[in-house]
Symmetry: D2
Subunit: 140 residues, 4 copies
């Protein structure tokens, strides 16, 4: 189970703060984006899961910030996933700066893990991971 | 119809950007907060409106940025509202810095207007403003 | 001066709200992203401008919301720009949904305008637009 | 070292997502707000630290999400802090829903920890915690 590239992000002013670096909270939508594209690459459209009445809310989040990101950096998020029991998933991420000031670099900006429960959206109860999801994740 | 104080905001790193000032988009949730507290002060809980199947989505937004906000500023949002036809509302806002570096100041940071349609959440169709809402706004 | 495509956005949960649609404030970073890529396509790296001590803060913002965006929509932002006097710029944007539930659509989600002053970052004073910027914008 | 109440948050549409609950990333600015007010209550203005050339960037983040927050909930963040070696701090948080639909409740929404390095802003190098900061934290 290796890390696979998913999305590329341009660091905007919207992501930075007055310390001149990427705000620590700004990367969470990047991780979400990585997750949905990782699943889509395996034929699994997360929005279809929701249309079928299921969701994968984040139950735990861990981030280790390694190096500050800067405005206009180009950042790549690599990702891998695995089942975590009958009704749970875990995603791991590597957030890497791949270009700064127009030049290629390779700086590990952050490592992260999110855990997710598979739940029925109507009542929030945990349910078994659907076959298609388990298979998609299992195939990584 | 005069402006009335609603909410007080502490400017966080989360609101600022690498230019060292408040990011222009950061004030929109402040305006939302001002709206709901302005209505609540008139006995109208916006969330009750949604529980009744109605919403007030923003249809137009205008902001004029007057002076930059800074990290740790204390900001006050004043607000007023009026009906705008059968199914519409308009809110106006004054966003003022009232303390900087621990000292009282009075700096107009931004002026803004939002327009809202009253819609049925199930299908997004415009509907007449409910009595209670029209009355609450009318009473300002 | 026609609109040109700039960036493509995937609508994430991060962009949506409990009404089930894109939060009105979520599009502002999309507009920022459109601006910087529009300039980059003309050989002008906005971050270089900042390294040279200049900035283009937003002084006015106008958005008209035409149709709600949904989770997982694919959205395209088209953009055009023009000088607005010696020290000012104006950008206009069309935010269009180009795919929904995996099918091509063409829905105008929002139209927007931002106005910008060219300022010296050290003291916030307005300065004449640099040649390269004026020329790049002029060339559209 | 007990948890102390710091800030109270109104859950806005801005904080929620299309699943109808608080977006997991939305609470990070609440934790930041809790930290600065926790320090301010001990006579330590974090912005003064920055004016003196020091910062406390987040180096690690852990959140366990216990129960979903909802639009218009009133949420309270309690916080405690301790030194973590010569140049580090750790904050712990309890995010509790204290009112929902206008009625008092007591629901643990999330527990979180952030770790911070004390750094010189000019070059990002770690430095010993200033006396005033260590003493303020030590006094909890």
């Amino acid at each position: 189970m290796t890390f696979e590239p998913t999305v590329t992000i341009r660091v905007l002013h919207a992501h930075t703060d007055a310390m001149g670096i990427v705000y620590h909270g700004a990367i969470l939508p990047w991780l979400e984006h990585a997750r949905v594209e990782y699943m889509r690459a395996r034929g699994l459209v997360y929005a279809d899961l929701e249309r079928a009445g299921l969701g994968l809310p984040v139950t735990e989040l861990f981030v280790r910030y390694r190096a500050p990101g800067r405005h206009d950096d180009r950042v790549r998020v690599a990702c891998r996933a695995e089942r975590d029991g009958r009704a749970r998933l875990r995603f791991e991420y590597r957030v890497e700066i791949e270009a700064r000031a127009g030049r290629p670099v390779r700086i590990l900006m952050a490592e992260a893990t999110t855990r997710h429960a598979c739940v029925r959206l109507s009542d929030g109860r945990p349910v078994r991971l659907p076959e298609a999801l388990g298979a998609a994740i299992g195939s990584c």
